[in-house]
């Protein structure tokens, strides 16, 4: 709605804005943040319940074809054979080079401790809280991770995109930004806005953060790309600089009907997101990066009556980046045969998705196992090291 701002104009204004708000504690300029590690972690929450059995298809399991009907493709149906047992959904074909380069892996049959009610909303809340129950928990596990590390600055971690990420909510300060929101105000209006909102700390803090981040956002953003590409570009830019952690969501995984079509859209967004991160990270940043994509639950082992799948239990985690051990389908495969399924309906979860995430964080940052099992994921037993990180 505001007219496009020229670069000079933009810099002039943001300079003034910076002066007028210098007193705010959130606005202390940080040149090079002293995060105590140099690796990068990107967490993507796949909202809606991704059908792991469709994304990485266990075509080598004798029960697969019978359960899955028309959704069962396997290598004969155009899926890419990963290892003679699992095959990658054709919509993720753009990621094959990443797999071949050893920068893509999967962990199958993983889940949170959430069981039986199969509600998206509770499932997502628990995934982001990282606990075994939601009672009394207000913060997210990624925020608790930041709380355990000294020298974390507000620029260390970014929650990117329009939806607020519970994953990063909590006591540790993180930056919040959506690449398409920009402020364009006179310095006077900025001062008065400060004054008017001073009495409301939550409102005031969020507005201050918006001001700060407007200065950093690139004003020559390209238009017309999907929101997910812009989000990935923004995350890549920040991670190439001082940020060490970024988290955002990709929606659209709730494929109750005509899954062939609906999952294609979601998978295409996912592969574009990963390729954008890889392509846009500068220098050797990508080599130091682990991307972890996780979902609230998997879907039913059987295709339902409308060529889709309903809410299930065991799911799939996706790992990408130069820091991970690529080319593997991790996890303890429970099988799909009679008696193997959870409640005769869903893929049986054989490991806790939080354990996988914990091993990734340990591999990236050297965090103490005890801290991971008590402060970040209270009560978790990480089990033995699956070797997800190089």
């Amino acid at each position: 709605m505001a007219d496009p701002v020229s670069r000079r104009d933009f810099l002039a204004r943001t300079g003034l804005i910076g002066c007028s708000l210098a007193a705010s504690p959130l606005l202390t300029p940080v040149s090079f943040a002293a995060a105590p590690w140099d690796t990068r972690l990107v967490v993507i929450i796949l909202r809606g319940g991704m059908d792991g059995l469709d994304v990485v298809q266990p075509y080598g399991d004798p029960a697969f074809n019978r359960l899955r009907g028309s959704l069962a493709l396997g290598p004969e149906g155009g899926a890419y054979d990963l290892d003679g047992y699992f095959a990658l959904h054709p919509s993720l074909a753009p990621l094959i080079p990443m797999w071949e380069a050893g920068q893509l892996s999967f962990a199958h049959a993983v889940s949170t401790p959430y069981r039986d009610k199969r509600s998206h909303f509770d499932g997502q809340d628990l995934l982001e809280a990282g606990t075994t129950s939601l009672a009394g928990v207000r913060d997210g596990w990624l925020n608790r991770m930041l709380q355990t590390v000294p020298d974390v600055t507000p620029q260390t971690a970014y929650a990117v995109g329009r939806s607020d990420m519970r994953l990063l909510q909590g006591k540790a300060e993180v930056a919040n930004w959506s690449p398409d929101a920009q402020l364009d105000l006179s310095p006077q209006a900025v001062r008065l806005l400060e004054l008017v909102t001073e009495s409301d700390p939550a409102l005031h803090a969020a507005l201050s953060e918006a001001q700060l981040l407007s200065q950093m956002a690139d004003d020559e953003q390209k238009r017309g790309k999907g929101g997910h590409v812009e989000i990935a570009e923004f995350a890549a830019a920040r991670l190439s600089d001082e940020a060490r952690i970024a988290a955002f969501s990709l929606n659209g995984w709730d494929t109750h009907s005509t899954q062939k079509r609906t999952i294609n859209t979601a998978l295409t967004r996912l592969s574009e997101t990963l390729l954008t991160l890889r392509g846009k990270m500068r220098g050797d940043t990508w080599r130091k990066t682990a991307v972890v994509a996780m979902t609230e639950f998997g879907r039913t082992a059987r295709q339902n009556g409308t060529a889709g799948t309903d809410h299930g239990t065991g799911g799939l985690m996706i790992l990408a980046g130069g820091a991970i051990k690529g080319g593997h389908v991790f996890g303890d495969w429970p099988g799909l045969g009679d008696g193997d399924l959870y409640q005769d309906r869903d893929l049986m979860p054989t490991s806790d998705v939080r354990a996988q995430a914990a091993w990734v964080m340990r591999g990236l940052t050297g965090l103490d196992r005890h801290v991971l099992e008590s402060a970040i994921f209270p009560g978790l037993d990480m089990g033995s090291d699956p070797g997800l990180i190089l």
């Binding site: 930004w177 008065l192 409301d200």
Partner: protein, 463 residues
């Protein structure tokens, strides 16, 4: 003891103060208004779904023509015509956005608009493909609005069995595994249940996620629901050939000896009168209207009103409007973007014809796109649980940046001339205006910025 306060009533239970209309003087006046004629509905009409279906029929006709004449000019013309139909429906959707906001700006019973929006969100639905994607406002007009002052069980049936809901939650293709239709298809073309609607009816519409139901109840309810369907020409219909034969046991009760609509209605009625439903609805109303963390006594009182009056909604509203904890004098809940915009237009006394003859592009640029940037894309909540009630979800840097841009740039394009900002602060905020807002309204460099500052004040954004 706190009690009814006219200014707070307009802010907390309506769409804020207006320079044109007096605030209600008591709860009785609001409740009488709810029972009285729906004048803004007539003044700012929105198409009924029955009428909207004609668009779907038209689109279907063109699809038929294309199908039968593949590769010919006839098919190309039909395709063109279908695009016209789609475009017209899309344009209408933005007209209805305008009408919805005008109703809120010009009503004298603002509480009615609030409860319509509350129940429309409780029964979130939108169409999935083609013209029906634009049908949410007509759905609300037919399936929600006429029922908001009646009994919940009627509202529940009207929403759950509405074509838009059946489409949204995949009900129309859900087939009983032993239904006539499934048998006819044979083992090579398997068909079966889709439990999406059944699950959300239990989890969101009635018992609540903590309610006493399990997977088996979801599955059986899904079997009971098989057959619920619609077609564009006639609206709702029951497809006997999709229906699962035999009875289904939901929460320990057997339904559907005979597969028909009546069994579904009986089950929905029972769900409506379940104690867990009373609790769930009571708690949602309290959170929505009063605070993210409401007084448990208020929830108890709302629940009791529902149980004691056989699921009537007006007695619940009566409790809500008379309970002491509903009149906490400091404003708390953060307005959602569409409410923020609507109450800004009410305070600015937007002319009744402000959107007449405006092009779709204009409505998108100044209303629909900013709403999306504030985090609330018009009629497109992310999931069937509707928009979040939690304030932190809305108090985000990106969302507030979008509010600032809108508040400072859009009113000036709509209101000619803009009011004196000092007077506007008093009109919009009443006794909630504080010294900081008064100072800002007077000290701003321009009138548009001053108006924007008043709209961005905490006293305006909270209710």
């Amino acid at each position: 003891m706190r009690d009814f306060d006219p200014e707070l009533a307009e802010i907390r239970f309506g769409y804020g103060l207006s320079p044109l209309y007096d605030a209600p003087t008591g709860a009785d006046q609001i409740l009488a208004g709810m029972a009285g004629p729906d004048t803004v509905q007539t003044a700012f009409p929105i198409e009924s779904f029955a009428k909207f279906r004609a668009r779907m029929v038209e689109a279907q006709k063109q699809r038929e023509i294309r199908r039968k004449n593949r590769g010919t000019e006839l098919a190309a013309a039909a395709r063109k015509q279908r695009n016209v139909i789609n475009r017209e429906a899309r344009m209408a959707m933005f007209v209805w956005l305008g009408q919805t906001m005008l109703r809120r700006a010009h009503t004298q019973t603002a509480f009615r608009e609030r409860v319509v929006s509350f129940w429309a969100d409780h029964f979130t639905a939108h169409g999935k493909r083609g013209v029906i994607r634009r049908g949410t406002s007509p759905y609300v007009e037919d399936a929600i609005r006429p029922f908001v002052a009646g009994r919940f069980e009627d509202l529940l049936q009207s929403a759950v069995m509405h074509p838009l809901m059946l489409d949204y939650l995949d009900q129309t293709t859900s087939m009983g595994p032993n239904s006539f239709r499934a048998e006819k298809r044979g083992p090579n073309k398997p068909a079966g249940l889709n439990e999406n609607l059944a699950r959300e009816v239990l989890e969101l519409h009635t018992l609540g996620v903590d309610g006493p139901y399990g997977q088996q109840d979801v599955t059986e309810l899904a079997e009971l629901f098989t057959g619920l369907s619609f077609d564009a020409r006639n609206g709702f219909k029951f497809r006997k050939d999709f229906a699962e034969p035999g009875s289904e046991r939901v929460l320990g009760v057997d339904y559907g000896e005979e597969a028909n609509v009546k069994s579904v209605r009986v089950a929905l009625r029972d769900l409506a009168s379940h104690p867990a439903t009373a609790r769930h609805l009571a708690s949602k109303l309290a959170v929505h209207f009063v605070s993210d963390t409401p007084d448990p006594k208020l929830i108890d009182a709302l629940e009791a009103a529902y149980v004691d009056h056989d699921g009537q909604l007006l007695p619940m509203y009566e409790v809500l409007l008379n309970h002491p904890s509903a009149w906490e004098p400091t404003v708390s809940n953060f307005k959602l973007p569409i409410d923020f915009m609507s109450s800004a237009l009410r305070a600015l006394a937007i002319p009744k014809d402000a959107f007449a003859k405006r092009e779709e592009k204009w409505m998108r640029r100044f209303f629909a796109a900013p709403l999306t940037h504030m985090g609330q894309q018009w009629e497109r909540p992310i999931g069937p649980d509707g928009w979040s009630e939690e304030d932190p979800e809305w108090i985000t840097p990106q969302g507030l940046a979008a509010r600032v841009s809108w508040a400072m740039a859009v009113p000036v394009r709509m209101i000619e001339p803009l009011p004196d900002p000092r007077a506007f602060a008093e009109v919009a905020l009443g006794r909630f205006a504080d010294d900081a807002v008064r100072f800002a309204a007077a000290a701003a460099e321009s009138r548009p910025e001053a108006i924007g500052l008043v709209l961005m004040s905490p006293a305006f954004q909270r209710r």
